[in-house]
């Protein structure tokens, strides 16, 4: 494995640096070609997102250290002085590189732990490199394995599950209360931007109807038209609370708009069916005592933020699980690497034996008629295989370090060439 990764991310470089080395999507194919043609790399891939820029490459024709050449490329491409990037770049190779790539793909290295975008960006970077003909054996094995690891992490841990933004938390809570949102009605009180955002996510998550109430009827009609909802009566909140399940409050009022007695009576008329009130307004529009009413759940903006924080912490716990999966996969991957090496040795060992036999036989070629010679040839090959066989068995069955050592030993003794 002589892949090398050079890059920087949100942890090692501030935005001022990151934006200087970012690659435009349209410029990627050219940049990749330049890496392969001018810089002579066998393989190359460029990952460029707003939080990271990473170059992966292997093998140069001139034998210069790969990481140095990659740094050189980065500086030359962006016409930067090497000293600007010096303190921000990291370099990975061998197992560390595999580990890093797996972590990035699984979103453990992301700014928002567990966010799903990075995998898509990685897939894009990979297919771009593939189209540019820059993917060879090494990247072609590593990156798809990284996708596989990311999938495992997503399936086996909950690192990307819980909501980590205000409006997605509102949806998550609604789902925790109502289960399916299908058939539920959202009431939007007021017309704040945040409120509309939350209403939109609720509708996108399956809520069936939306009603809009505003102090000015015109404004209510406007917003209702935008969502394809109905206009609700602002002066009869209690009735509205009976027919709605999720209430989003974001009026510009300086005072409480939703009071305890409204909700109290409404809950009773709802036969204690839960009512979820999200108060996004600052100052608050819902009397805090509302939360004390049975089966009424009232969250203000700080409460939502607290859930975001708790979910992020939950993701941290899940991330540890993910780290153990990644360690396991790094192990599997390098084991696969070794197996491939051993396999290559086994193959070329057999070939060398065959060659020796045939060479020796060809020296006496003239002493035999053609048919006899063919028979002898077959016999010699069988002999070669039989000699090779126990070696193969031994190599293949052994535990790892010993097997690798044995393989290296055979390679050395018979002066076997590398074959891949």
């Amino acid at each position: 494995m002589d892949l090398v990764l050079v890059g920087l991310n949100h942890k090692t470089a501030p935005i001022e640096i990151r934006e200087k080395v970012a690659f435009h999507e349209e410029a990627l194919p050219l940049a990749l070609k330049s890496l392969v043609r001018e810089f002579g790399f066998d393989e190359a891939m460029i990952v460029s997102t707003c939080n990271r820029v990473e170059l992966l490459a292997s093998g140069t024709n001139n034998g210069a250290p790969v990481d140095g050449r990659l740094r050189e490329f980065l500086c030359r491409y962006h016409t930067l002085d090497a000293s600007v990037l010096k303190d921000h770049l990291y370099t990975y190779s061998n197992e560390e590189l595999v580990h890093h790539v797996f972590r990035v793909a699984s979103s453990l290295d992301s700014m928002i732990l567990g966010e799903a975008q990075i995998l898509g960006q990685l897939k894009q970077a990979y297919s771009c490199a593939e189209d540019s003909g820059a993917i060879g054996q090494r990247l072609g094995r590593l990156i798809p394995h990284a996708f596989f690891v990311a999938k495992r992490v997503r399936h086996e841990t909950k690192v990307g599950h819980s909501a980590v933004s205000i409006s997605s938390v509102a949806v998550e809570l609604a789902v925790k209360i109502f289960g399916e949102l299908a058939g539920r009605t959202v009431l939007l009180l007021g017309a704040g931007k945040m409120g509309e955002l939350a209403a939109r996510s609720l509708l996108a998550s399956g809520a069936s109807r939306i009603r809009v109430a505003n102090r000015t009827f015109e404004r209510a009609r406007e917003v209702a038209a935008k969502f394809g909802g109905e206009v609700a009566d602002f002066s009869r909140l209690e009735d509205e609370f009976v027919v709605s399940d999720i209430v989003i409050v974001s009026t510009g009022s300086k005072d409480f708009v939703v009071r305890k007695e409204h909700v109290d009576r409404a809950i009773h008329r709802r036969k204690y069916n839960p009512l979820f009130i999200v108060d996004i307004a600052v100052p608050r529009n819902v009397e805090p005592a509302v939360n004390a009413i049975e089966t009424a759940f009232c969250y203000d903006i700080d409460d939502l933020q607290a859930v975001v924080d708790a979910n992020l912490e939950e993701r941290l716990v899940e991330a540890e699980l993910a780290e153990s999966i990644i360690r396991e996969e790094v192990h599997n991957f390098s084991l696969g690497d070794q197996h491939r090496n051993v396999g290559a040795v086994v193959g070329s060992f057999r070939q060398t034996l065959e060659q020796i036999c045939l060479e020796e036989l060809s020296k006496v070629r003239d002493s035999f008629p053609e048919t006899e010679y063919r028979k002898l040839e077959q016999m010699m090959l069988r002999t070669a295989h039989r000699i090779a066989h126990p070696f193969m068995v031994e190599i293949k069955k052994g535990e790892q370090p010993t097997t690798a050592e044995a393989a290296a030993l055979i390679k050395r003794i018979f002066r076997l060439k590398d074959s891949e």
Partner: protein, 267 residues
């Protein structure tokens, strides 16, 4: 053979319980699945055990405390499997399987009792099966109410911790609660009706003053009230949990306590 089946069932239940515990702590779905499948396997062996015993004794094996405990464990497990496949309440196993395991284990220490002649009637099949299914369902109902309370508490306090992540939505728990409540009640009513017909036919008079009959009727009334309040006044959460706790305690009293008070049901 019977002992082997019993041990296999018990073993699988314990494995299921163990994995439910790990699933609760580690939050890995894998353990939930392992737990579910081992309980299902245990259930198969348990059914085999009951059938084997029935054939061996040429009688439905649920007479006396020992056999009825084993049968009770079976109905509770059945309810668990239904609830789990239908509602996927991850935390259920951890709270329900201890009861199953304890019931199974306790049968080891209780001596089998001979079958009284009066019970040699096919009425007993329906009477006990219905009532035991009802008891199993009411236990799930009780757990669902507790889970509802726990989830509601975390939602109210706005500090998501364990149960917020482990339990399904309030609405799902409410459905679980209500469905098992209704079905439990249907089975209980059927069991009681069968019992009354049977008693009228075969028994000496005075069956209505039998302690177990009275206790069962009180339990039935408690659940009737619970359903009534739920449907008309929308009782859920704390109030429902409270009533279903009383109901379940009443079942335990009916099931275990009354046996010591004498009467027709004391075998």
């Amino acid at each position: 053979m019977g002992g082997l089946l019993f041990n296999a069932a018990f073993g699988f239940y314990v494995v299921g319980l163990f994995h439910s515990g790990i699933a609760f702590l580690s939050k890995k779905d894998l353990f939930v699945r392992v737990a579910l499948y081992s309980v299902a396997a245990g259930f198969v062996f348990h059914s085999g055990f009951l059938i084997y015993q029935g054939i061996e004794k040429a009688f439905f094996p649920m007479i006396g405390l020992r056999e009825s405990l084993a049968f009770f464990a079976w109905t509770v497990t059945l309810c668990f499997l239904i609830a789990q496949f239908r509602y996927r309440v991850r935390a259920m196993g951890l709270f329900l399987l201890p009861l199953v395991a304890a019931s199974m284990l306790s049968t080891v220490f209780i001596k089998a009792s001979p079958i009284p002649d009066i019970l040699r009637s096919s009425w007993v099949y329906f009477h006990t099966t219905f009532l035991f299914l009802a008891y199993g369902m009411f236990f799930v109902t009780f757990l669902a109410a507790i889970f509802y309370l726990l989830q509601e508490r975390e939602l109210k306090r706005k500090k998501p911790r364990t149960f917020y992540y482990q339990l399904p939505s309030l609405s799902a728990l409410d459905h679980l609660f209500f469905n098992f409540l209704i079905w439990g009640f249907v089975f209980m009513t059927a069991g009681i009706v069968v019992g009354i017909i049977w008693a009228e036919q075969d028994w000496v008079k005075g069956w209505h003053s039998d302690p177990k009959v009275i206790a069962t009727m009180s339990t039935w009334v408690i659940y009737l009230v619970l359903i009534y309040l739920r449907v008309t006044a929308g009782w859920r959460g704390r109030r429902a949990a409270f009533l279903s706790l009383i109901g379940f305690l009443s079942i335990l009293f009916t099931f275990l306590g009354v046996s010591f008070l004498g009467g027709q049901h004391s075998f």
